[in-house]
Symmetry: C2
């Protein structure tokens, strides 16, 4: 690695600029050209830092996950269930923070450093409760899936609230009165996230017992 002309900015600067755009103008504004412009770069210069737009998105996922405190997850003074809750809530918060984080997460396998660290913390925690390794790994996957799914449902809700009129006309959307059970409970959800996570953890416990 010989010096050469000094790089004006770093990969991290680009990722930061991308998040800035995401927060202020939404996911549609996170384009190669848009991020480049916000940094005073030419679009083509971006390809010296990331081989594709998708590579930039994946770097954003890593930055997102890097803010999760994994040290707290291995603090043996706190009950494991409380630690999973904190971990899961932190993950959900990061994903819900910016709408469209979901397309970030599906931009590629969660095989970055921080993604693997999170997974490792989950497996270690379940194993610490006496779960066999194979089961602990499955439990970790189930927890990640559940959190991602809640984030997806929330993102879907939000997408509808921002552009409330783009349903197709006609018979596709019928009146809600035809679905009495759904109708009776739509606004009585409360903190469904915590409740569902507790049921999942109960299921793990019951198997152990």
């Amino acid at each position: 690695m010989r010096p050469g002309p000094r790089r004006s900015i770093s990969q991290a600067d680009i990722v930061d600029a991308a998040f800035e755009l995401l927060e202020q103008k939404g996911m549609a504004a996170v384009s190669v050209r848009g991020v480049a412009a916000s940094l005073g770069l030419t679009p083509t210069a971006m390809y010296t830092y990331f081989p594709s737009k998708n590579a930039l998105l994946r770097a954003m996922v890593e930055q997102l996950l890097s803010t999760i405190d994994l040290a707290a997850a291995s603090d043996a003074d706190v009950a494991w269930r409380d630690r999973v809750h904190a971990l899961a809530r932190a993950l959900l918060d990061r994903l819900a923070e910016h709408a469209g984080s979901l397309v970030l997460v599906t931009s590629g396998p969660l095989d970055g450093k921080h993604a693997l660290g999170l997974n490792e913390a989950l497996i270690a925690g379940f194993a610490g409760e006496g779960m066999p390794h194979a089961e602990a790994a499955r439990a970790a996957v189930a927890v990640r899936a559940y959190v991602l799914g809640v984030a997806a449902l929330e993102a879907a809700e939000r997408a509808g609230r921002e552009t409330p009129d783009d349903s197709a006309s006609g018979t596709l959307w019928s009146d809600a009165a035809a679905f009495p059970l759904t109708e009776a409970t739509t606004d009585a959800a409360g903190d469904g996230f915590t409740w569902g996570l507790d049921r999942l953890l109960d299921g793990f416990d019951r198997r152990a017992a």
Copy 2:
């Protein structure tokens, strides 16, 4: 509704054409212009059928969910747990069938006819097991979230397999050896989906008992 010039095609035709493109060329090919071209239409003619691209995506979600057999879900001769499994598996299969179905699902609230029908079937099933309404509704949300999350994780895996080299260079992706627990279990997953769903259902049962 007076006759007027006969409509050359229907909304359903457009949705079918969109799925055709999705299967053959992936989600990127599902564009207003691309779908229009595949039907011999002008892009602008599409806006007589759907007010936006997003409205088309939402109609696709409904078509996707319409293929799930809800009648089987209320067959009292079969144990409820088996019926949830069938329902959840059907949903996962539909979502996993085409990569990029995930962006369909997050295109707006799941408030279409078939989406609500699915929700209704889940709530009714849980209520039939003696769950209070409020809890049954939460259980239905948890199941949907879990299935969506597994689909998201699978989509992410697939996205990586198709374009395996677009990770950023440098220190973001370190060697997997630093994560022994994750490494030891990556390929020993088996049918994690069914296992996790069973744990979630166990958690519901335990609460009932």
